[in-house]
């Protein structure tokens, strides 16, 4: 029910963003809808956690709503920092990503039962691994939204500003994802399965995602590389992020499939 209300808020936010883009006005509404949506999704996560006696981050549904909440929060924080300079297009593209994730969460293929975790998932390292992964990926989602904006606009000054935003988002998300997704995940694997790294599909794609963003950060050091190249790499990075989270579960099952 709470996730459904949050979903409706995102629809309203998207509609208001489209209207404000078309009439070329500032957006004073949707950031607060996003913040409220994030609050509701986090509340849903907390309620489920109390029901199972463990942080509710152990299945795809819980991962999707938490990821959506983090994206909404990052968009809201962006609005708080930028105020009048907030780019509505960026809010729109970011909200679209969050909306698609929530739509997926509400689909019948994703089980929504509240179930306590099996023994392999009962670990403090899981909490660190999953929360930091999604927080890092929320910044990647934001960089994706700005990258799409970069591709769409023609104004060179706006492109420069977008490029700076993409870099700052990835610079923030990269260490958080690196620590959470890779390092804490490896530590958890060591305690659960007896090896830090097994090259299972989820781990391999998480590493590939990290390598794509490593590529992005290093490409920016080379002066002759055009900005559009780094923007395309940022887009590819987020596609890898989505495939690591969702595609691997359904197309390449391994140890991580629960």
């Amino acid at each position: 029910m709470i996730a459904a209300i949050s979903f409706c808020l995102l629809i309203i936010a998207l509609i208001s963003q489209v209207i404000l883009i078309l009439i070329k006005k500032r957006d004073p509404i949707s950031p607060f809808l996003l913040a409220f949506s994030a609050l509701l999704l986090i509340t849903e996560t907390v309620i489920r956690s109390i029901q199972i006696g463990f942080p509710a981050l152990t299945n795809t549904f819980e991962g999707l709503i938490f990821f959506s909440a983090m994206i909404n929060l990052v968009l809201f924080i962006y609005y708080l920092k930028m105020k009048d300079k907030t780019i509505t297009y960026v809010l729109f593209f970011g909200t679209m990503v969050s909306f698609i994730l929530l739509a997926l969460a509400s689909s019948p293929v994703i089980p929504k039962e509240v179930k306590p975790p099996i023994p392999a998932l009962q670990s403090a390292w899981l909490i660190l691994h999953v929360t930091l992964s999604f927080i890092g990926e929320a910044f990647f989602a934001f960089s994706f939204a700005v990258s799409i904006y970069y591709i769409v606009i023609k104004d060179e000054e706006k492109k420069k500003e977008a490029d700076r935003l993409i870099y700052r988002a990835i610079a923030l998300g990269y260490p958080i994802f690196g620590a959470g997704g890779l390092i804490f995940g490896a530590i958890w694997a060591q305690y659960a399965w007896g090896r830090f790294w097994s090259w299972d599909p989820k781990e391999t794609f998480a590493l590939l995602t990290w390598l794509v963003y490593t590529l992005y950060l290093h490409l920016r050091l080379v002066k002759k590389v055009k900005t559009v190249t780094t923007v395309i790499v940022a887009i590819i990075g987020f596609l890898f992020t989505l495939f690591t989270f969702l595609g691997v579960n359904y197309l390449l099952p391994g140890l991580h499939s629960y």
């Binding site: 306590p116 023994p119 009962q122 260490p175 090896r195 590939l208 390598l211 490593t214 050091l221």
Partner: protein
């Protein structure tokens, strides 16, 4: 620093790092979609709808064991060399430069990554893993003449029957130490020196005791063979034959066997306690809990942990410094 000739200078460059990252991403992406470590027959079955050359290429190029192949180790090795040279070069350039703003955070991150990769290599060559199915009372001997004895095995489940926890309680005795009792759980391995013992699996197994015509007792669990002069029988399961609830002490079971003919399972045979099969008397039937423990020894753990600590420290240092600079502007 004196300018190196162009070919050598390339090894110190970010461009080489970028090239190697692109190569590693591309090759790893291909390998990630190919199931790893299967046999030739399994790949032929999996890719039966594709031309034969596909499977041949998978094997020839080492894509079936990509992460242990030359195709992976060469670019990864070059990446390690490039990373080392760039890190050393960057570190000394900062140290000798006159600028006040020095950022060693990324150097510590790179150093951590290098040590992590070394740890991975050490693990590749020194990691040893053994697995054992043990029931209550079974013992395992470890290096240093230590003996682990399984004292109890416990399976806890949720109300819906899903597993909640598996616990194995063990007692460790050794020539130079006081006996100790420990519990091994999933995510909570037991460490003894360089050996870590993991709670890997749990099973409920059927156990039967059979007395042969000479009076010798033979114990069999699921999938074990009973060889008699007249044939071989594969013990499959226990089937409850009265109306009491399975698991209750008053349930009677029949032992179910598959007769093995020319190496293949044939007809089923069932006997109850007190009855014979080819002169072999079934005396007792029971169900026992069996724990699956993994024993892992890996000398790579130490450099991996050092690498992790350095990586995390370097990341923190980089960002604390960056935030400090932003606040000062």
């Amino acid at each position: 620093m004196k300018k190196l000739p162009a070919p050598l200078h390339f090894f110190f460059s970010v461009r080489l790092a970028i090239l190697l990252i692109v190569i590693l991403i591309s090759l790893s992406l291909i390998a990630a979609f190919i199931p790893q470590n299967l046999t030739l027959a399994e790949y032929q079955k999996l890719y039966a709808h594709t031309p034969d050359i596909i499977v041949m290429l998978i094997f020839r190029l080492g894509l079936h064991r990509f992460f242990r192949s030359v195709l992976f180790f060469v670019p990864a090795g070059l990446f390690f060399i490039n990373l080392t040279l760039c890190t050393v070069d960057r570190f000394f350039r900062q140290l000798t430069s006159g600028t006040r703003k020095k950022r060693f955070g990324p150097d510590i991150v790179h150093l951590g990554l290098m040590i992590l990769l070394i740890g991975g290599l050490v693990s590749l060559f020194t990691r040893n893993e053994d697995f054992a199915w043990l029931s209550r009372g079974d013992q395992v001997r470890l290096p240093g003449n230590r003996i682990i004895t399984v004292e109890s095995i416990e399976y806890l489940n949720y109300a819906d029957g899903r597993p909640m926890d598996y616990l194995t309680r063990v007692r460790i005795t050794g020539p130079d130490e006081q006996p100790g009792e420990f519990t091994i759980e999933v995510n909570k391995p037991l460490t003894i020196g360089f050996i870590m013992i993991y709670q890997n699996s749990y099973q409920e197994r059927f156990l039967i005791e059979v007395k042969d015509p000479a009076g010798k007792i033979i114990k069999l669990t699921n999938r074990q063979e009973l060889k008699t002069p007249e044939g071989s029988y594969l013990f499959k399961a226990l089937r409850p034959i009265n109306k009491e609830e399975p698991g209750s002490s008053s349930v009677e079971y029949a032992a179910v066997f598959d007769r093995i003919s020319r190496g293949e399972p044939g007809n089923s045979v069932e006997i109850t306690a007190g009855k014979s099969l080819d002169g072999y008397l079934l005396q007792e039937t029971s169900q026992i809990a069996v724990t699956g423990l993994s024993f892992v020894r890996d000398y790579g753990i130490i450099p991996v942990w050092i690498g992790i600590i350095l990586l995390l420290s370097g990341l923190c240092w980089t960002y604390i410094q960056k935030i400090g600079e932003n606040n000062n502007q």
